[in-house]
């Protein structure tokens, strides 16, 4: 074949390359070890439970004055 490839041939090669990449990707994904959904959600919940105390947007502040965005009163203590 002529060393100069036709545009059609190039397109064909490109398509081939794309398909090969997709398959490589899918093979790679097929090898992933998957966990049960119940276990994954359980772990997400455990993380959440162990950090809920420091989640001020949920638990609030033990004293309102600890909120850095609380509007300060008009008199400041010197």
């Amino acid at each position: 074949m002529d060393s100069k490839q036709s545009p059609k041939m190039n397109k064909f090669q490109e398509g081939l390359q794309q398909q090969r990449r997709l398959i490589e990707q899918l093979r790679c994904e097929a090898q992933i070890t998957r966990f049960r959904v119940s276990q994954c959600i359980d772990d997400l919940q455990k993380y959440c439970d162990s950090h809920i105390e420091e989640d001020y947007l949920i638990s609030g502040f033990s004293k309102p004055s600890e909120n850095p965005f609380k509007e300060k009163g008009s008199c400041a203590i010197l």
Partner: protein
């Protein structure tokens, strides 16, 4: 006729086992096997789990500050690691640095472009990066003595607009996402490409780095409706997550790093788990018909904030999948939002030209 064609393709396949047709077939069978495998592990409906959990009580955050100064739509914002300063960028080509406590503007940087869609604080708090329709990511060291613009440095260049950027664990590397459908990791010092990430079939809209120290992975979402998880060192896409029916505008890791949330133009937010390799929750309501532009978690991961095109912020219970409340106070689309690093406050930015801080 049919038999003839069949024979011809059979012959072709025998000659050339790598024909596109043969490859497509293999791809299809691999895809089928994958979804079968994933379905097998879906042993528990998340609705069931949600019912077992107690509802969150007393969720009560209020608007505390209004940051006024942009003369165009606010497009992006980021918190400094000092939990006090905020960088925001706007359609008018300006980037502003705010002291969120006092609402003072400490720096105003004018970009040579409009639509500055991405901005990010460096981990040290001494540098910010931004970009947009200029297709570039430019760094600005912050100092009180000098105008940051005099020390600016272009670090990254894409072939289309810059949609998002984020420093890695240091000021020395920055990850960018672009309308050219790629992501890229750059060395800041030499302004050189370290790794590029090809795989999306549409504009990349959002990226987020794994919060785990050993992660070395990041997630990206884009207009091809899929989210991809990447290995930063090799440049390989290691997982692909589909399910959204329209553009993904925002991606954000769950604080443990095991899952991530997405916000999409299909008016839903979703939770994808890396280890289950699938969607594990979907946050939606019939009454919500507008797209979601931005998502972020509270520090425990229990609450997911979503900024929507209907001017609201929907606050979701990330585990139960139910809506806790709605935050109203912007007069136009909510385009960006972020929880402060210490988890005390939420900042929202809007097309109404303002940012608000909630606590």
């Amino acid at each position: 006729m049919y038999a003839e064609i069949n024979m011809a393709t059979e012959a072709l396949r025998a000659e050339n086992p790598d024909s596109i047709e043969a490859l497509s077939r293999e791809a299809e069978s691999l895809k089928a096997r994958l979804s079968e495998e994933k379905a097998k592990l879906n042993d528990l409906d998340y609705c069931v789990i949600g019912q077992r959990l107690e509802s969150l009580q007393n969720f009560n955050i209020k608007p505390r500050r209004t940051l006024k100064g942009h003369q165009g739509k606010v497009l992006c914002m980021d918190w400094s690691s000092d939990k006090r300063h905020i960088v925001s960028s706007s359609q008018d080509g300006k980037m502003l640095i705010w002291d969120a406590f006092t609402t003072n503007k400490e720096h105003a940087i004018t970009m040579p472009t409009t639509w500055v869609m991405a901005c990010s604080y460096g981990p040290s708090g001494n540098v910010v990066a931004c970009g947009g329709l200029d297709n570039k990511c430019t760094l600005y060291p912050l100092s009180m003595e000098e105008d940051p613009a005099t020390k600016k440095k272009a670090v990254a260049t894409h072939t289309s607009y810059l949609s998002c950027c984020s420093f890695t664990s240091s000021d020395h590397q920055i990850l960018t996402g672009s309308g050219d459908s790629t992501c890229a990791l750059w060395d800041v010092e030499n302004a050189q490409l370290i790794q590029s990430f090809h795989g999306h079939a549409g504009d990349v809209m959002s990226i987020d780095l794994s919060p785990t120290e050993t992660g070395n992975i990041f997630v990206s979402g884009g207009c091809d409706k899929v989210a991809m998880v990447w290995d930063m060192r090799t440049g390989d896409c290691v997982q692909v997550f589909d399910g959204h029916e329209s553009d993904i505008n925002s991606v954000k890791f769950y604080p443990s790093g095991d899952a991530f949330a997405t916000g999409s133009d299909d008016a839903t937010c979703r939770l994808f788990d890396l280890r289950a390799d699938r969607e594990v929750n979907c946050y939606k309501k019939d009454s919500i018909i507008f797209g979601c532009n931005a998502v972020d978690f509270s520090v425990s991961g229990r609450v997911l904030f979503g900024g929507y095109n209907d001017y609201t912020v929907n606050v979701w219970d990330a585990l139960k999948g139910t809506r806790i409340t709605i935050l109203y106070c912007h007069d136009n689309r909510v385009s960006c939002l972020g929880v402060s690093p210490d988890g005390t406050s939420l900042c929202t930015g809007s097309w109404d030209y303002t940012l608000r801080v909630w606590a």
